[in-house]
Amino acid sequence: MSSALKIELGRRYRFSASHRLHTAHLSEEENCRVFGKCNNPHGHGHNYVVEVGMSGDVDPATGMLANLADLDAFVERRVLEEFDHKSLNEDVPVFRGKVPTTENLCIEIFQRLKTFPRAKLERIRVEETGNNSFEYTGDHPEGNRT
């Protein structure tokens, strides 16, 4: 019976960063119209929450799908160290040419975490605020680039 059950592990992490929604493909006016106050030239920030969903077999010896210490260290190295207290536009290379919306942030984080060796990354959900969240499950071509 249990072999027919699927277990997923969810873990939440936090980082704080600034961003500005702006694209060189649009005029100043259009940027202002499309992105509203998120286009403020000096940027603004959020306390982001990242929810990581992993699936896999539960090891009978440990009862674990993935050792949390390994997962935490991986996320810390691949995402938190590079995003926390940073400007997403200036400090994260991929966002020099791409608008750092939370949609794109989900895809970028998925890309960074999908090589976790001990479980399969199923989804990334990012809360930009308590009222806005975005979820990505790996089906966008950008998220699957190697």
């Binding site: 027919a4 699927k6 592990l9 873990r11 939440r12 539960v58 009862g63 674990m64 199923e122």
Partner: protein
Amino acid sequence: MVLLTRKIEFAASHLYHNPNLSAEENRRIFGKCNNPHGHGHNYTLEVTVAGEPDPVTGMVLDLKELKEILEREVMQRMDHRHLNYEVPELAGQIPTCENIARVIWQLLEPKITQGKLHRVRLYESPDLFADCYRNGAGPAGKP
């Protein structure tokens, strides 16, 4: 199909220890969760049932009945208990979130006769949870 979710909370203690491993390995793998005297959590359980609302009552299932099933199967078994020593269904297993979620699924699935159990989500803390699904059902939007 409509998904209905009911949430309950219970408090329990546990520890992680595998008698087949050395004391050192237990400490390395399980860290502070290996403390021999145990520790505890306020667990939050979300149980999601899928079904079509009954045309007469408008309900997927009677919430009172689900509440009673959760009380009987989960609260009475696990609330204010030591999960390693007092829950026979977990005997021989490390009481991780993953394993507890699976045991709760196994306890609930046969009892839910209206609608179908869709997901069991067990939070050990606000930042750590495990989901259990019937294989192939998958999270919403991902069959």
